[in-house]
């Protein structure tokens, strides 16, 4: 019953998005989302509604963030579990939990005032795919590190003992025993983080530059779907609003499919051993 309640929340949200997007679907905007070249819904002369660059931006920003954060987070968790003395480990964990609770707006503000000027010196304008990726990576790092830590903690003591009894060093124990054993826990942590990264809005909108074009390099500005919703929802007229709902719906479906696919792949890989 309670499970059904949880499940029904999803249905409710999807239904609500569909209802919001319905006018746009009815008026045949879907092909325009796919095939238009620019995003200029407010233009009186030539309104265009290209969603693809924004979906691409969502995917790219998330991928970059995951690529930056996953190795760091997992390596940090290994250090936490196998190297750090317990007394210090507790503090490390406390700090990570704190980092997990920093509001996104603080990250965004920090990104815009500290990170963007740095990147600007390398390659203007600074607000870019790279900036958004780094800020997002910082935001999801604690999630990855904390879930990896708990996954590593749940590696059975008996296996670590077995490794020690066979004279295996820490490196081999970590890579051959602990990490494979914790793989599924770490994987679901990374998935959780990816889902969070795709949906993140407030921090990204401040550092990504918000230009709805396919980026040519990491220094180019991009505009993820959520940034568009955040920037325009409050100001959109009715048909524009329906389009934004449609964009949100597509994002949710794409993310759902992506995480579902990753999770499925993970499950299959898990069955081998």
């Amino acid at each position: 019953m309670l499970a059904l309640l949880s499940g029904s929340v999803v249905l409710l949200i999807v239904w609500f998005l569909v209802a919001g997007a319905l006018p746009a679907l009815r008026d045949g905007y879907l092909p325009r989302l796919l095939f238009d070249e620019h995003w200029q819904p407010g233009s009186a002369r030539d309104p265009q509604f290209a969603l693809m660059p924004m979906l691409a931006a969502s995917v790219l920003v998330t991928a970059l963030a995951a690529l930056l954060a996953a190795p760091l987070g997992i390596a940090g968790a290994v250090f936490h579990r196998f190297y750090l003395p317990k007394r210090l480990a507790v503090w490390n964990q406390r700090m990570l939990e704190l980092l997990a609770g920093v509001p996104s707006i603080v990250f965004g503000f920090w990104g815009l005032t500290v990170l963007v000027p740095l990147i600007n010196r390398l390659h203007p304008p600074g607000q870019s795919l790279l900036a958004a990726g780094i800020v997002l990576a910082l935001m999801i790092l604690p999630t990855i590190a904390l879930t990896s830590q708990s996954a590593l903690r749940s590696v059975p003591e008996s296996q670590l003992l077995a490794a020690a009894g066979l004279g295996m060093g820490r490196f081999a124990t970590v890579f051959h025993i602990a990490l494979p054993s914790a793989r599924s826990g770490i994987g679901s942590g990374v998935l959780l983080a990816i889902a969070r990264a795709v949906g993140e809005t407030m921090a990204v909108v401040m550092v990504c530059g918000n230009i709805a074009k396919f980026p040519g390099s990491v220094f180019d500005p991009v505009r993820p779907v959520t940034a568009t919703i955040a920037l325009e929802m409050g100001y959109a007229s009715s048909s524009h609003k329906a389009l934004l709902y449609l964009a949100g719906l597509i994002l949710v479906l794409v993310t759902g499919a992506l995480t579902g696919w990753l999770a499925f792949g993970k499950r299959n890989a898990g069955e081998v051993s």
């Binding site: 020690a164 066979l166 295996m168 081999a172 051993s273």
Partner: protein, 268 residues
């Protein structure tokens, strides 16, 4: 690697015993065992018996420095190998020590990988070349009588084996490293009698090839296996050895009163 050869017979054995003198193990303020002295003869089977909580496992763990892993655990005294090297020396390379002194635990603990990977991971760690792996694995599996049972499914998960098979796999995995000593920490207590008998049979077969130290609660098993016996008992709040000697002597006429009661089945 060091040329540790397996011995073909008792007389030419070079695997090396251990000699412990005044070994104490403390966990924080708690003394688990106090001032234990024990000689573990070459290539024989030494059984450590005694009631639970007397520190038998602690002593075993001290012999290959697994005690290092326990925060707050302190080992005092001296543990020397066959050529007289001090094993408690902090500068000793613990990893190669543990290779020379292997361990098999109470609960079978194969890695949750394929049977093959269970050999590959530790052997590669100790620098055995990839091309030597299949032969070593087969030899070790034959030594524990597992080869016929698993040779067709080496790439399946080790976790799918039965408990007895898993334990024999763990013995084979330890054997593959070509150790001088193998420590068995109640290797049969988590197994059913039939599996237990098979495992015991293969431990017995190790006599003359490696030095075996086995902790067991099963006195009958100790009688069947042991060449040499140490009896543990609680003295002044800590475990210690109250009787030590060749099996036939200790079982026939123990000099310590507690040991006598324990071995005769009256106490313990």
């Amino acid at each position: 690697m060091t040329s540790v050869s397996s011995c073909s017979s008792n007389t030419s054995c070079t695997c090396g015993g251990l000699s412990l003198s005044d070994v104490s193990v403390h966990y924080g303020n708690f003394a688990a065992i106090r001032e234990v002295s024990l000689t573990i003869p070459d290539c024989q089977i030494t059984a450590l018996v005694g009631p639970s909580g007397c520190g038998k496992s602690s002593l075993l763990h001290a012999m290959n420095r697994l005690t290092d892993l326990i925060p707050g655990c302190r080992v005092e005294g001296s543990v020397r190998d066959g050529v007289g090297r001090e094993l408690t020396d902090p500068s000793l390379d613990v990893m190669s020590l543990r290779r020379r002194i292997g361990m098999v635990f109470q609960k079978p603990n194969p890695f949750p990988h394929s049977i093959r990977r269970n050999f590959e991971i530790p052997l590669r760690e100790h620098g055995v070349s990839r091309s030597d792996l299949p032969d070593l694995m087969e030899k070790s599996l034959r030594d524990v009588g597992l080869w016929e049972e698993v040779s067709s499914r080496l790439d399946e998960s080790a976790m799918k084996l039965s408990g007895g098979q898993q334990q024999r796999l763990c013995i084979a995995r330890a054997l593959a490293l070509d150790p001088e000593v193998i420590l068995f920490d109640e290797p049969c207590s988590a197994l059913d009698p039939l599996a237990s008998a098979v495992v015991e049979e293969h431990i017995a077969a190790l006599r003359g090839r490696v030095t075996v130290v086995i902790v067991t609660h099963n006195l009958a098993q100790a009688r069947r296996l042991a060449d040499h016996v140490g009896v543990f008992w609680m003295r002044a709040g800590a475990g210690t050895i109250v009787e030590e000697g060749p099996a036939e002597v200790v079982f026939a006429s123990p000099s310590d009163a507690d040991a006598r009661y324990y071995l005769s089945g009256v106490r313990g």
